[in-house]
Symmetry: D3
Subunit: 331 residues, 6 copies
């Protein structure tokens, strides 16, 4: 784990001796026809420019966007914005134990706890074909990628482990709905919940930031998920055709409306449940994050959030007092 002062807290002239991640690394040519290196270096607190006009050739050959490097130098000031006057840049070594992940936002929930919750729930799937399918899909490799992924690029659960956190919330909401309605096929619904966003591990790249891949943009996580599930079901003998169709329908319809990019709308009881559970988990997380990060200075209101066409209100009415009491409610 990384332990160093935040770049944002440094003033002009302060020394820099930090691990930073490379956000940009481009060679440019000045009007005087001289090459120089344009770098953007960041920790979690700030992204800072640094132009190198000398001795950058070796650096350029050794590092690339997304790499973590050890930077030595000092803070400079250019037209009111901080810059780094670089003395040396070296790739982080394995023994430094610092990775790009250390520079990204992360879920506040504990990964191991979430992992345990997930696999415990897998064991409770009573339909053998479905449980086998889930296990065949969530292999160690895939689960590792799945558990790292954010649930979105910027809107909800858009942080490392966010996809897993989001999936677990939906599973719990769905289980609650099954308690209300015995007509829901619980196994089918829970498997749909586990798989619905699985394709995001191919839709999004999240090694050095969260960006859509070419495949993600051209095909989208919904169909990526569907094609994968279709393929994995073919490997299971005598998987019932109608169960397959209903499961793929759950994945395809989980965004609820055609205009939200679902190619079919929910047509089964499980499908409408999954869509609404997804909405509930996603929207609440998104509003919470927006209220936390988009407040205007000296205001209880965020800036206008165009995705929801409104500004949001941070009322500041203290939930804590009650919380302590409530926590003992269900003992």
């Amino acid at each position: 784990m990384l332990s160093q002062s935040d770049i944002i807290s440094l003033n002009k002239g302060d020394a820099v001796d930090h691990f930073l991640i490379i956000k940009k690394c481009e060679l440019r040519t000045s009007k005087a026809n001289k090459q120089f290196l344009v770098l953007e270096l960041a920790d979690k607190s700030l992204s800072v420019n640094s132009n190198m006009f000398e001795s950058f050739e070796e650096i350029y050959s050794k590092v690339k966007v997304g790499d973590v490097v050890k930077v030595k130098g000092s803070i400079d000031d250019y037209q009111g914005s901080p810059q780094i006057k670089v003395k040396s840049i070296k790739p982080a070594k394995f023994e430094d134990d610092v990775t790009a992940m250390d520079f990204m936002a992360k879920s506040k929930r504990d990964l191991n706890e979430m992992k345990k919750e997930f696999f415990n729930r897998v064991e409770l799937i009573s339909n053998l074909k479905l449980r086998t399918l889930i296990k065949n899909i969530f292999t160690d490799d895939k689960f590792e990628k799945f558990s790292l992924a954010p649930a979105g690029k910027s809107w909800h659960h858009s942080y490392i482990h966010g996809l897993l956190e989001h999936t677990l919330e939906i599973i719990k909401i769905c289980d609650l709905m099954c308690d209300f309605h015995s007509e829901i096929n619980r196994d089918l619904l829970i498997c749909g919940a586990m798989l619905h966003d699985f394709g995001k591990i191919e839709e999004l790249g999240f090694e050095t930031g969260f960006e859509y891949t070419d495949k993600g943009k051209l095909i989208g996580h919904i169909v990526i998920s569907a094609m994968l599930v279709d393929e994995k079901i073919k490997e299971i003998k005598e998987f019932p055709e109608d169960l397959k169709n209903c499961l793929i329908h759950l994945i395809l319809s989980h965004q609820g409306k055609l205009e939200y990019a679902s190619p079919v709308v929910p047509k089964t009881l499980e499908a409408i449940t999954l869509y609404q559970a997804d909405e509930l988990s996603a929207k609440v997380n998104a509003y919470k994050n927006a209220i936390a990060t988009e407040l205007k200075t000296d205001s209880k209101w965020t800036k206008f959030i165009s995705l929801v066409s409104t500004d949001l209100f941070n009322h500041g009415l203290n939930p804590e007092t009650e919380k302590q009491i409530n926590e003992s409610l269900f003992d």
Copy 2:
């Protein structure tokens, strides 16, 4: 409780000696300038016409739409549809212990259990002002009306006790979301959940069927609720202004979008949670009912449901087997 054969099971010529509810009761004039009485009589299974050309004056003076009556006569046939040839019609007596409610659909949940759940939850509200407000609103009289009301005219939870059943579902979903997010003000959210549809007891008439009242159509349950809460808060000393605004905001915004008749969109974390929890509870109930009642003959598909612009699929994949297993999951 009513115990008699269903009208739908009778054949031409069979005797009728049934309690029925009056759906229509109108005097008309024939071309020959003679008055006659047009009746529509129903039990839960069927609604049947009956025209009386003789001796109807006393009947007409004693009964009205919504009354329960004891009908004697026999089943006749008119152009392929059953009719009742009436011999006598008399208002049900008090000791018959039959009311209009006996002819309406009802929640499958037990009323007393639901009532207990509701008031237990009220006691857990830790904020004293809010708990007082809830108790002042849900007086015995009002709660009785509230506990009878359907949550809607025809779409979701549209049966006696439906509003209470719906409200309890939302409360539980909201409590679960509070478990996920400590930033939510639990007391505020739960009170919003309890009050959000309260105005439906004035928006809908449900004595003899579910119909909108004039006030319901002109003002709507959202503003009826808001005006009532505003009035009741004024009776509580030093109720904080910002808490009042946030609570009324919860009520006003709970349909989530302007085009769904909310005059403001959700702008707080509690408001977005309540809206999405309401959607989840309402939609799943609505789809369940539509799948149960709108199936086409010999088909796994319902007719086209215009409210959701699709037909729905009754896959028939048995949830029961798994259910038994699952029920022991959380012991």
Copy 3:
């Protein structure tokens, strides 16, 4: 080929000795608790009811909806509508050489000519991987099904061989657009055109009428096509990843807008071309058919066509004279 008088031309009392297709075949119970058989029998000109109260048990055990049968009897009249008084019904024999297809609308283009056009165009695909893919998909079996299918249930090219006719039109429009724009990748576009609606052979059942299958409603022809192409590409060695993504993108985006059920919008030059070519072919065919079949009596206007929110005008300005001249234009 079927040669018999049209049912619609018969009058009351006329003898019936016709091959007809069974549209409905249901046992019902009368009020008098007696079983009878409800039949709907059709040729291309008319669909006629026939209720059998005697000797229907053997018939009911031998035929089902979609079967072609030889019906003997006579035309009767029931409340102004023709009925058939049935004397005997027997399944058509193999040697009768009559099938359900004889009772459905068909493309006016010659099937063999279309088939030749299609496979000639396949040979002109210069990219070997793509040409192989097309050949692997359009096997004899699959092509036969493909060449029978309509392009839609009721709107455009909704007749036997319609899907092939529609596909050929799009191919020609796309080839013309490639002539205008050398930037378009012709092989990629033409393969997309050939495959874009392929999934309709699983989406629609068309043995006895055009109906959506369960799979068709739950998954849709777009994703069915995509899953199939994904599977077939995996069988070809070293099929380039980016070519695969672009081809699947063509299929997924070919309905042009999310609200038209495409899960992604067109993002490549080929994709926008395919979408617009599809629109052009489909809309012109649909309007032509609507103008031919939906004219109001004694009017140059069709009834209101809700799919396009207008009525359509049959101006009757004679194109024939010019046509003869024009036909020699491009010799």
Copy 4:
């Protein structure tokens, strides 16, 4: 009334000895860890920045945003924009007779004339209960606030006294419509016109600029008006229930469509009249203002106005000549 040169007319080096209003007043800390004061000072013509690095403590303790102050100093230039080099800032004194209102746009109509028009019209309300209600609501205090308020933040009648000017226009349009249609209940309609936007006095703060209040954003002027009218009606004995519902309906529905934030659409003849009269008054005023203030340099066209998705044309065809003639039309 304020009499001083406009800031915008001053050049670098010119002396400043002006009453100005404070738009921003924030303490900041420089990189060198030194505090300084950031001010934004404005008259009607311009808003100008001024940073104070010395002797600002006393100023900061005495003034706040919205205050009118007497500023002495001179005009400076920073990167092409004017700044004020401040020598002294003092709060305006009571005897200076300058208030924040002097820095805001105002209606061109005379306030006293408008007030007289309004109360004359009140006297003409023939229904005693309604006239009493109006008088109880428009008390001296409330009317003063009402008569100061703008009708909107920025779009139409967005200036001091704008709400009163707008209300009077609507009243006259509604009276004209009553002349056309005797079916309209004139008293009801005119009272609805008077009250429809009354809640804006709580929705908008307009002491130092036009900003929405927390209550305004969370509840909105429509429901604020409705709750107030509901409360005031309860204080009048035997106010007819149906009249109350119709009056509140007028307020709730006056924005005409759900998506314009009315929780119910117009369902009475008065309601549709009020909505359309409001639209007419608001849109014409808004377009007039936009044409006057948003013209592009050297153009007869305004910039693109996003609220109406078009640019607007100032044709410049002289209405004056005709006007003189027309003015004598109705003598």
Copy 5:
């Protein structure tokens, strides 16, 4: 003027000796291959069928749809609906002084008064070119057609003289708005008001009912008006180009939005005024008519009016008392 009993008041067996209008007149062939004549005959109260099996040849040769005829016969009954058993049908004679107009709804305003109002207002146009244009367009012939026309097929002012009544309302509303805003070019606006719907005299046929013409459907009254004004302006020397563009713009944009079939949106002050004045006049008239004609039996509510997506409320609060008082307001 027509003086005879209403058909709707007649009973079976009553004699018919009435002028009626022919709504349908078609030869049909029975199953028995015998020709008969299908007639639909109507007065203002009712439309009644009559089939003639004998002696109809001469009638068929002499009358057509839209003709007024003298019918002798008696009222018969067919499956519960009245029919006319015809003895003789003769075309009305000139001296009968009965025309198709006698069978259509008419404005309640006096035609001569409206005509006078219109031409008085024309004289007040101060711009000579515009006044000349109006006079050249509203020639005696054209004005007669214009003054007969309804303003619409079924929604607002859909009765004889309705277009003139509607135009006068708009003129008065526009004059009122000019009183508020001296920036409006009154002459331009009033001419736009006079001409905006002029094309309806070619869009609608209204000799025997209100039906769109082919030209009306293919081109529409907006462009018909624009083409005519363009043509008539060319006949006036030195008509200013910008005045022409602004006037045609008024016509084209008067439906306010592209989706309402205006090819351009309002971009001038006059254009927005005309659009909103048109809306006000049209909507209030339409709601008034709907409330008068679409009430459900025994209800204060109309049936659901799909054009406005709501039902409407006839509150019945008496406007008459106040009206008498109000009428003396402006003396």
Copy 6:
């Protein structure tokens, strides 16, 4: 034809001796109350500012926006952007043979070839009245303007000769559709294709850039075309009324939807064909241009294109190899 180095290729200090077009030419006054001239000068590669503080009076009196001038001076640098330090500016002389057109983008197709194609197709119109109409409209003068015009301001075919190129594409697509469907009236459709955008020569000014005219904004090219065709048809004796209506309908409906500014939607077979052919030609051209000009640095993706609500993908899959083969397909 212009032969000089591109401005964009010059570095600071390099000499300028170029023909450039004037994009801006405004007198301004400095804070020091001194006049100076603000120029924007451009070739195809770049637009560059130049402020003149001395000796600009004569220049200002001789040139205006849109003029081509000979500029002498050198490249300077102002805050990172290139500027021109002007020594002299002189209007281009006639013998320089340089016009504003030399600074605008042009179609890659040869003008003469396109002209020939167009008039060859005119000769093939078999209906004499229609051919005459086309010839009367496309007089030498008009055709010259038509052949210069772009088809749009910035979206598709937005370059000199673009309107002609676009029109020819549509003609060919329409001819292909006529080959598929003998029901289409080929003459009518092709004339509609030729005329549909003709009004753009008055809607757009394209002498010095592509800007909408006042008439263009107030009336629009659709109605301009319709009014012109209406006028020209009146000059042809006995032009059939229904043919006129159908032709004008083609023009009016060619944007396909009301919200795309067509005052009527397509109601004939020709109209739907023209609309879809227009869409196909326009969209493919627009996407091609966007992919060519809007790519992000080092990316296969363009920036977000708001007109189509997506970014676009430049897959780079080489079409060339196949193209060579395909070119010989149809020999």
